[in-house]
Symmetry: none
DNA sequence: GTGGTAATGAAAATCATTTTCATTTGTGCT
DNA sequence: AGCACAAATGAAAATGATTTTCATTACCAC
């Protein structure tokens, strides 16, 4: 029953706990692991069912998987050079919780990203 | 240049200001309008560029378009029924500004979204 | 009308994801 | 070991949204 392939999980961890199915697959290929794309998808779905990973959507619609409980962070992205800084989002966490409560939502997650031009651009 | 086809916009309005490209297309077909799917996609993209409509993602990854007011706001989306609440993001604005400053970014914008299950789901 | 630009849409291409199905692997049983 | 049977695997095909291509059409200024 447990299709939560441990190799897939460990690859997702190695990827920084944040990657799409395709990325996990490519990563495993590059590392010489022999695995099929189908199995990667199934393993990720299974991990989601088991609540070991979370699934979000990128802006382009691709599903990205993230380890649960992983201290999650947000991104500050430069529109010029694409440089990315990981930042803390303490204020956001509180805001999200507050807003959810206020509107009777439960089981909430959130996404937040800041973009602009960095000092060099 | 303005590909913001008014028929598409009015159909989106009629749909409750909330629909996917495919749904808008099917709706227009059903109403006897003669239009191509390609044109619907282009019109919606154009409307997004012009900031007349917002684009979100359904849980299955399909893009949904929705009319939005001028005021800058964020969304609280139900993963169950797709219900959406527009919310204020005062805390976010400050947070974004602070983070940008701290890392020497200028000209910044941001995205933020909260998702969870609403009271009814 | 003529020339040129923008808009249109049918069909093909793309891309992530899911399904199908035949094969392999694992496990318990004797 | 040999056997049976369920679960796991992955290649290939199917699906479905979205994008691209490209030939045609509508529009506008002169």
């Amino acid at each position: 029953m447990s299709r939560s392939n441990p190799r897939v999980l460990s690859t997702l961890e190695r990827a920084g706990g944040f990657a799409s199915a395709q990325e996990v697959y490519r990563l495993m290929q590059r590392e010489g692991e022999s695995i099929g794309l189908t199995t990667v998808y199934r393993a990720l779905q299974s991990l989601v069912n088991d609540k070991i990973v979370d699934v979000l959507r990128r802006d382009d619609g691709e599903a990205i998987y993230r380890l649960c409980g992983e201290a999650h962070h947000h991104h500050l992205v430069c529109k010029g050079c694409g440089d990315t800084v990981e930042i803390e989002g303490g204020a956001i966490e509180k805001w999200a919780k507050m807003m959810a409560e206020e509107h009777g939502f439960r089981d909430v997650g959130h996404t937040a990203e800041i973009f602009g031009l960095c000092g060099k651009c």
